[in-house]
Each structure stands twice: as C-alpha cells, then as structure tokens.
Symmetry: C2
Subunit: 177 residues, 2 copies
C-alpha cells in the first residue's frame, strides 16, 4: 500500500492551532497515514494523539519537521495544494500508485514549494480553505473510500439518523440525545 503523508507548512503558533488541528483530523479521517508540521508544537501533538487514543489509529503526528528536507527526501510524488495550480480534474487521473506527500500551506507559501512539487493542484481556482482542499483531494484520490476506513479505537460512532450513538470498547452503547 502506498503511504500518504500530509505536510503542513507555515504553521504559526497560536494563530494556526485550530486550523492545523483541522488539517490533521482531516488527514486522519480521509485516509492519510501521518501528518507532519514544520513548526514544533507540543500542544498540537497532544491534541492529535488524544483523538487517536480515543477514536483509533494507526495515525501519527510529527512537528518540527524541516519542510525543505521532507520534500527533498520524499520517496514518491509530491503534490502541493494551491488555488493557483492545475485543476484537480485535470490532475487526478494522472496520479500514479505511489507514496504521496501532500503539501498544504498556511498563509503565503514560499515560491520554492511551487518549484519542488511534482504537481501544483487546485481544488477549484477560487479562494477557500486548505482544510477543504485536503479533504476533497483525498476523497477524490481514494475514490470515496477514505471515509470508510476502519479504526480500532476505544470509541466508535454508530451512524444514526437522530441523536448521538457511541460505543465504547466494551461494546456498551452510550447514547446521548
């Protein structure tokens, strides 16, 4: 199985804590194996690890990663998500079965990233959100299978038309209206 890693660059503390946390959760929920963040951020690591402890893995977070080195040393393809890139629909069919590093920036991205990436991909050429871009990119890439991935965690949400149904690892339902 090819590995999918999301690389978040330009993370600023505390400004980006919530948005980068969303990026990490989306990476996990939509089928990536890891998230790497350029800026060291223990608080973010703790939050992500906490979700993995409760809802399951495998999924891991690393912070304080040199983005330049990560891109340079990556064995596989590098996709940079940007509204300036080629339209997703023109790229998605060209994506090989290979390890993928998916780069998402916060704020302005260094020009080098555009050069170093194998593909600069736009999930639509309108301004929106790196969180959304990552989710739709992974959803399309994995043909909708990402959100069917099973995790082995202590808690499992049971799909329900009304209210909240959560099972804990003993199998006991814990419903709350």
């Amino acid at each position: 199985m090819p590995r999918i890693v999301v690389l978040r660059i330009g993370h600023r503390i505390p400004r980006d804590l919530r948005v980068t946390f969303h990026v990490a959760l989306v990476a996990r929920a939509f089928g990536a194996d890891e998230v790497w963040v350029d800026q060291r951020d223990k608080d973010l690591e703790k939050r992500v690890d906490d979700v993995v402890a409760r809802f399951g893995g495998p999924f891991s977070v690393r912070t304080g990663v040199s983005w330049k080195r990560a891109i340079r040393e990556w064995e596989g393809r590098v996709f940079h998500l940007t509204m300036y890139g080629e339209h997703l629909d023109d790229v998605v069919q060209k994506i090989p079965e290979d390890n993928l590093l998916v780069v998402v920036g916060a704020g302005k991205v260094p020009g080098e990233v555009f050069e170093m990436a194998d593909f600069n991909v736009a999930v639509g050429n309108q301004p929106h959100s790196e969180v959304a871009a990552l989710a739709v990119f992974l959803d399309r890439l994995l043909k909708g299978e990402g959100i069917h991935r099973e995790f082995s965690g202590r808690l499992r949400v049971v799909p329900s038309p009304r209210g909240k149904v959560v099972e804990d690892s003993t199998g006991a339902p814990r419903a709350s209206p």
Copy 2:
C-alpha cells in the same frame, strides 16, 4: 435551480472567526448561494464581501440570523452535517432536487437541531472538521460541478502548473512567482 444556503450555528467571536470564514469561502467555492451565521459579526461580513468583490459572485453573507427560525421557515430540505449522522454514502442518493439548507455547527450543537433537520449526515463517522464536511458534502451533491462554477469578479486565477497567474478584469495577466 434549487437554492443552496449554508447555515453556520454556534459561531463565537473571536474564537471562530477564521473557521467560520473558511466555512463561508467553502460555501461560495463549492456551489452554495449564501451563507447565514447565527451570531452578528460585521468583521466576518466584511471579509466575505471583500472576497466577493475581488473574485466575484453572486454570493452573499448574512449574520445575526436566528437559526431556529431559519430552519423552521426554510422552504426545502434541511441537512445537518454531523459525525453522528447517517453515512453520506447512504444519504446522497436520497437527496431530492430541492432547496437545501445545510447546517454546520461550531462546537456542541443543540439537540433540537438533530430533531429539526430532515437528515443528519456524517461525512464519515470520525471527528474531523465542519469545513471539510461541508466541502465534501457539496462536492458529492453537485457531482464535482461545484468547483467548476464561473464567477464574474475583477480577479480570475488562471490554472497553472507552476507559479501564480491572475488576470484582472482588463484582461492583463499579473503573474507573480
């Protein structure tokens, strides 16, 4: 054409400004016509209006909207996006051609919302992000056409494999590496 409106509830100032701004941009970029926000927030309105002025509409934002009244008086279907709901794949084929109100919460959502919605829909039953959920919901609903919508704004991004190419309304390219 059915109308699509995104209703953001539980918006807290200043905590949610950025995430709600992402919700608004995703609504616009993925095919909704309007975003409504429960809490009055002039700063958010200004930011969204600014994007519409530069990158085009039609798209509008309203804040200070009573969510209960908005849901009660909506002429069409109401979808509430929540990780506890029915799986998107089980719902999407049931969605009729009708006006859609798509509800996304910030933080804990009142139990009444689960009752008042026609459908509680989970874009996967894992914790992630309302920004991602909205994007993937609209992308699937509109069968990928949302991100092909044309806007008539002053600025237009020209898809490019490298760098940034933006046209202004006079047609002059403004490239920046």
